[in-house]
Symmetry: C2
Subunit: 208 residues, 2 copies
Amino acid sequence: MPSREPKSSRPYHHGDLPAALLSAAEEILERDGIQGLTLRATARAVGVSHAAPAGHFGDLTSLLSELAALGYRRFGVALMEAVDAAGGNPRVRMKAMGRAYVGFARKHPGLFALMYRSERLDFARPALRDAIANARGALRAAASARAPAEPLTPLQMAAQSTALWALVHGFAVLLIDGRLSGLIASLPEEESADTLLEAVLATARVGE
Amino acid sequence: MPSREPKSSRPYHHGDLPAALLSAAEEILERDGIQGLTLRATARAVGVSHAAPAGHFGDLTSLLSELAALGYRRFGVALMEAVDAAGGNPRVRMKAMGRAYVGFARKHPGLFALMYRSERLDFARPALRDAIANARGALRAAASARAPAEPLTPLQMAAQSTALWALVHGFAVLLIDGRLSGLIASLPEEESADTLLEAVLATARVGE
DNA sequence: TACCCCATCTTACCATCGTCAAGATCGGTC
DNA sequence: GACCGATCTTGACGATGGTAAGATGGGGTA
């Protein structure tokens, strides 16, 4: 029978090439942006020929999708950890999620941008689908408040979680894109992106 | 020179090539997405050689930037018109802006995506800078509510407008990226993206 | 009217990219 | 020790953005 031992087994010529490619791809992504992240640049960084990645990832879309899946797994973990550590108060949980969401985007701006660049990704990839579903679950866990005094319609419930998601996602996108830099610079001396985020989260109605 | 003219005579000198290129570029952008919008495809659509655009726009970044500037001008007009037509109630103005914001993104998804794809744009271009500043002004006009009973700090004021912007921008981005399609599909029969947007805007605290 | 300037557009070429096909290389198994 | 197949390399193709040099003809000027 063919010995189909995956990456965890003994290295080959170069070692664990798929992992090395993903690692190099992430480095290039954060250093040069999505524009600089090419198959050939990744192969060069690892020290293999330009066609080597095709053996493990079929094409560029697949490599980007696997990298995005890696990002979503980290993202889901970061969100879940922050929410879990926040305790039981829905409003505190919501704020913790927002801080973790924006914090991840600021820490890995290239990866975050890739994760939301749909035209470069293949959502049919199981790894990406699963990672997204997992992160979505972490989001839901943060938005789930106890049932309020008067029950909400399905639309109102959806609007609550959607509004929270849109708020933090929009803030993250605008922030890492530099669209808020002028406004932040115009604030009083000691204010920064962090305090602006706190003030923005304070305007959210979720959990009240 | 037996050059065929499919639609109109094609003299050696086109006439208004820059405008024709921008128009063709927008068509390609909305039909094929940013991936399909290339200098050569644009030149082909207009019927000129692949190097012709370089004479008017220096490079691809410049063409994309001019197209984005065109989008921002339309965007600013759409926002301003909607807010002006909404009357004086701050909350009504806010909702009108949100509807116009998301409506523009849904009507011109490719253009909207380009407008917020910073790494492909050159913000040093005066046309783009001016158009963005104009649209930003329209946004501010919508968020400007009367001074509330208790005065707000500069940070709180900035947070008000930033939160509104982040909310509608995040919703628009997530919507045209298909990230809300699953949630919308799970809603009761008659609900749609429009009603979800209304419910999301209803959660905003601006203007209260 | 005739001519010439030069903005406009074309042709030709280069480097880079993704992708594919064929061949070389080496580890593991019999 | 020899084969087999997974892994990687080489080389090629078409497409892209960009540049340089040449062709073209519209419009101002004599």
